[in-house]
């Protein structure tokens, strides 16, 4: 080892102490608010009262259930819309790809508050007064969530399609007598399952915590519930915030698991 290299490795060791500090400061910034929320939720006189109060509150469960229901509807609708479209664009109408990509990119550019502003203005009056009824407002909420999910759902599915030979799969299925619904449901969808599932869990995480659109549509969703709770109670909001964080955590963990599995599956099949 030359003197120069020895000096360099000593310098690197000193350097790595600085990097530890950088990392620990960052990790502290991430964890302290979570610890503080946990500690705040436990400040009640009766231990765990914040949690028992929340978990015994039927309103909590109904809001949570409402948002979960919206999330499921959003995922189903989004998959039903995106998978056939992405498949069809790849297979039959690649010249329309720029149009579809532009549309799926728009929700990045349109902030949710602007989207809901437009939706309310369009659907509050004739000819389609969706905002006037509960069911109509919920339908509008789900539609807005589907719009929010388009960018990453489309990208995930399109990437998934790239790794399979959809052309050959389609021709094989057709020569066996399959129709379009069969091809999409039983050939294409199972092959992009990993991409669809990670898109679905991300949608779940986003819908469960969404506030802006649900609030302006006056929907009994989880986000507005937590917001109201935060203004009216002391310890319960801390408990519900942590539950909300836990839901996001579960969704992300599922994405990680699905991602590992689907990578393994794709390489096992070996289709390029």
């Amino acid at each position: 080892m030359s003197e120069q290299t020895a000096a360099r490795s000593a310098q690197r060791r000193r350097g790595s102490a600085i990097w530890w500090v950088v990392l620990l400061v960052g990790v502290a910034y991430f964890t302290v608010p979570l610890v503080a929320t946990l500690q705040f939720s436990l400040r009640t006189k009766v231990p765990f009262a914040a949690y028992t109060n929340v978990l015994q509150d039927p309103v909590f469960w109904s809001r949570l259930g409402y948002s979960a229901m919206c999330a499921v509807c959003t995922i189903v609708l989004s998959v039903a819309l995106v998978v056939p479209t992405a498949y069809w664009v790849r297979l039959k109408v690649p010249r329309l790809r720029p149009v579809v990509e532009f549309i799926t990119l728009l929700p990045f550019v349109i902030p949710p508050v602007v989207l809901v502003f437009g939706l309310i203005r369009v659907y509050s009056g004739n000819p389609i007064p969706l905002v006037a009824t509960d069911l109509g407002s919920t339908a509008l909420l789900v539609a807005a969530y589907v719009v929010l999910s388009l960018p990453y759902m489309y990208r995930a599915v399109d990437t998934g399609l790239r790794s399979i030979d959809s052309q050959s799969l389609t021709e094989a299925a057709q020569s066996l007598g399959a129709g379009w619904p069969t091809i999409i449901l039983r050939v294409i969808l199972p092959n992009v399952r990993g991409a669809v599932l990670s898109g679905a869990f991300l949608t779940f995480a986003i819908v469960m915590g969404e506030f802006t659109i649900a609030n302006f549509l006056f929907r009994p969703a989880f986000g507005p519930y937590l917001s109201l709770l935060g203004n009216s109670k002391t310890y319960e909001p801390a408990a519900v915030s942590l539950i909300s964080f836990g839901l996001t955590w579960v969704a992300m963990a599922m994405i990680a698991i699905v991602g590992r599995q689907s990578r393994g599956r794709v390489s096992a099949v070996g289709v390029r």
Binding site: G15, V113, M252
Partner: protein, 300 residues
């Protein structure tokens, strides 16, 4: 076969059955077009048209001229400031953290948990995030009380408040930083060890390596990330709403107030504000896409 030449660049398989059916193939994406038309394009068109119409229904540019009202200029300025400060802080610290676990020689196993946590934290925004910071740095927050009881420093007597622009920026960094880690990690992966070794063998100091090799390569990624973070903060509404109500003039909160009632006393002005927001976001995302393409050159 003009269609085939047009699609040759998109590296896709040519149409399986060209000819008479080709002209009807676009019908396959009709459901998608109808849906996005009804719930994305129509609402936006409504706002676009509305922004050019005055109360009597005739065409006007007055709504855009009204954007120069002091309160609206202030809202644009504050929102841009908050987005810029939180984006730069997120870019800088996020890059350092990602670099620390990827290339700086810290143990390799640190990376996976950090990236997983970044995935969760970047989605932990809005109402629960605002509340979490109130429990941390509010008047009765854990850190506030800790500093008061241990060091005798009461932040709220030192001029600090969570419910100010600085406080809001501090909160925004919480979802900016992890997003930065997620998007910059692949770019740092792309910094090849060979380049560093080549530079060192040619006698370059670490500073020279960064100045002439690493930073120029990373620059498009860093700038693209900073711009994406800017847009990420610019469109946010829930966090600011929950934290400050409306005391800090954030555009999204102001538009929200306009949805609930005609606070601007002029609907057209609300539409013009929304268009202003979309314009800023459009420029940001456009720049991001261009820079992203530039950055991809190095990963090939």
């Amino acid at each position: 076969m003009t269609a085939v030449t047009a699609t040759a660049t998109t590296q896709d398989a040519p149409d399986a059955r060209p000819g008479s059916r080709r002209s009807w193939a676009w019908l396959g994406i009709l459901p998608f077009l109808v849906f996005s038309g009804l719930f994305l394009l129509l609402p936006i068109s409504f706002l676009v048209i509305g922004s050019f119409v005055d109360r009597s229904g005739s065409l006007t540019l007055q709504n855009y001229a009204d954007l120069s009202r002091p309160d609206i200029v202030l809202a644009f300025r504050t929102t841009i400031e908050v987005s810029l400060v939180s984006a730069l802080a997120g870019t800088f610290v996020g890059f350092l953290m990602a670099y620390a676990v990827i290339l700086a020689g810290l143990p390799k196993w640190l990376r996976a948990p950090l990236v997983t946590f970044a995935g969760v934290a970047s989605n932990f925004a809005g109402v629960p995030l605002a509340l979490a910071f109130i429990f941390t740095l509010g008047q009765l927050g854990l850190v506030t009380l800790f500093l008061r009881d241990t060091f005798g420093i009461y932040l709220y007597q030192q001029g600090f408040s969570l419910y100010t622009q600085v406080g809001l920026e501090l909160v925004y960094v919480y979802f900016q930083l992890p997003l930065m880690i997620l998007i910059i990690a692949p770019a740092i992966d792309g910094l090849k060890r060979d380049w560093r070794e080549a530079a060192e063998n040619l006698g370059a100091s670490p500073r020279q390596y960064w100045r002439y090799v690493a930073l120029p390569i990373l620059m498009p990624s860093l700038m693209g990330a900073a711009i994406l973070l800017f847009g990420n903060a610019f469109g946010a509404q829930a966090t600011a709403y929950q934290l400050t109500g409306g005391t800090i003039p954030i555009l999204a909160v102001k538009i929200g107030a306009q949805i609930s009632g005609d606070v601007l006393r002029n609907v057209g002005l609300g539409y013009a504000m929304a268009m202003g927001m979309v314009l800023v976001m459009g420029v940001a995302i456009g720049c991001y896409i261009v820079l992203q393409r530039k950055a991809e050159r190095w990963s090939r």
